[in-house]
């Protein structure tokens, strides 16, 4: 740091003062405003990528959801009458929805930032006058939009199979937004961290999918033996699905407050990691 101070002294005085004068009152901060056009450009770019791959992006998750309904809803559901007073087919809707939104958020956001790293076009992002916040807003904003769209489509598909009612629509949307935001952020981190396509697939495969299946998407954790129930409570996804299901049917495995708090905590953790990544330039800059 002393080197920086010394070099400033060595600079011609005129150059320094003129620079400061044009930059505004405080030389330490950037006087220019938020680069909204930059954010919009990233967002549009990502959405264009989404449109190009519409088939994979939407059709695949919808088909797999429909399959879940056929297999779990009809085949298994015919043997289980109701869970917490809701037909089994309807019971699994919130969990399925959460499962798709969560995986898609993770996949979309991680791929979105991994690709420029992979192809080398990240140079442009790094050399543009966009702050880290703006980059995250662009990428994560787009990933969240896609997930919400997907969520709506899955809900539509599900309603073709089973009657669905939503007791607390505002809460439902809040949970959906919070979840897709958290997992998109998480995906962004994953995309920054990954050095290969294998690593990009690794986290969703090894961590998220099992946690989701063990997160009570297809059963109420009350249905588990006591010991397993305790283990399950360490799975953060349980809280997400439980809260989300409550917004549909008014019944939950864990208290609503706990669900909201743990979702919020996860979001905060992701945000903190992102801030750290940009502060240190971790895996983005040399």
């Amino acid at each position: 740091m002393s080197r920086g101070a010394a070099s400033r002294g060595a600079m011609s005085g005129g150059a320094v003062s003129e620079g400061v004068a044009t930059a505004g009152a405080s030389p330490a901060t950037d006087a220019l405003p938020f680069n909204a056009r930059g954010v919009a450009a990233i967002y549009k770019f990502e959405m264009a990528r989404f449109r190009r791959t519409l088939l994979q992006s939407l059709v695949a998750p919808i088909v797999s959801t429909a399959l879940y309904f056929v297999v779990f809803g009809s085949a298994i559901g015919s043997r289980i009458s109701t869970v917490h007073g809701v037909s089994y087919g309807a019971f699994i809707v919130p969990g399925l929805l959460m499962l798709s939104v969560l995986t898609e958020s993770l996949a979309n956001a991680s791929f979105g930032i991994y690709m420029p790293k992979f192809t080398g076009t990240i140079y442009e992002l790094l050399s543009a006058p966009v702050s880290s916040l703006e980059i995250v807003l662009g990428y994560v904003g787009a990933a969240v939009s896609k997930s919400l769209l997907l969520g709506a489509l899955i809900l539509g598909t599900a309603s073709l199979f089973v009657p669905i009612r939503v007791l607390h629509p505002a809460w439902m949307i809040a949970f959906l937004v919070l979840t897709s935001a958290s997992f998109s952020l998480c995906g962004f981190i994953l995309g920054v961290w990954a050095r290969s396509f294998e690593q990009l697939q690794f986290a969703p495969m090894l961590v998220v999918t099992p946690l989701t299946f063990l997160g009570g998407a297809f059963y109420s954790i009350d249905m588990l033996p006591h010991a397993w129930r305790t283990v399950t409570l360490f799975n953060p996804i349980v809280y997400l699905i439980s809260g989300f299901r409550w917004s549909f049917y008014g019944s939950a495995d864990v208290a609503l407050g706990v669900s909201v708090a743990s979702t919020g905590a996860f979001l905060a953790l992701c945000l903190a990691l992102i801030v750290w990544i940009f502060r240190t330039g971790y895996r983005l800059k040399n």
Partner: protein
Amino acid sequence: MTAALSISRLTKTYASGLQALKDVDLEIPRGEIFALLGPNGAGKTTLINIVCGIVTPSGGRVLADGYDVLRQYRAARRLIGLVPQELSTDMFETVRHTVQYSRELFGCRRDPALLERLLRDLSLWDKRNDRIMTLSGGMKRRVMIAKALAHEPRILFLDEPTAGVDVELRRDMWQLVRGLREREVTIVLTTHYIEEAEEMADRVGVINHGSLILVEEKRRLMKQLGRKELTLHLSEPLRAIPEALSDWRLTLSADGTEIQYRFDSVSEHSDIPALLRRIGELGIGFKDLNTRQSSLEEIFVGLVGRRAAASAERDVALSTEER
């Protein structure tokens, strides 16, 4: 006037421990075309990437038009355009969209007229709706140039813009650079084609092993370091150089029909008129005469070579001392 670029005591040590830049100081005035030369791995790209925000410096400071590239990065980066060394573009986007994206990313309003002019200047207008992956390598490079110019930068970095590029594109590039110079855009380019620096640059910097070993106006560099060569094509072959000409270090070609005189244009006393007079007095006739100045490439090779030789000598001296 504020310098377009002012670099002071810039250092960079990569995580691997490799010191890619050592205390680099450089000031580039507005509107100048500056050519950065140096062998592979000298640190040219590292220097450019630090200015553009792609690599974080380990120490020192960079001002672009007076704005600190780290603390006032928004203001600084708006002024800067970069055509990187590596060809990397989005494959699935169309030419038009990708250039438009670049402009908006830099916070500028869409400008269809500017976009059209840019694409026409770079002979990309016919390809504007083509996906980038369908273009040839040279065309992709043009796209990258268009992207770099989309926000009308005041300082443009061209990192080996003509590597692997055909003659036509190279000529277009030179044309483009001249056009930008007329608009007072400052240009920093790196190249391994020294004729390129010779053709375009106002000043030349030579970097080697992370140190800027020389910054000089191109003309003066050529004058100072350039060797000149005078050749006389004789009417009658000579057997040997006459004694009377021993004041000049002359060489006679094997067949005796050419006299060559090599001299440092500045450092050496080279009285050509006197030489020619003396030759006339001796009755040696010549039918033609030409002079040749050494190219920047020869100068550059000489410079880097001389340094290497000097350090080798030092090593030898050290090892003999040890004994």
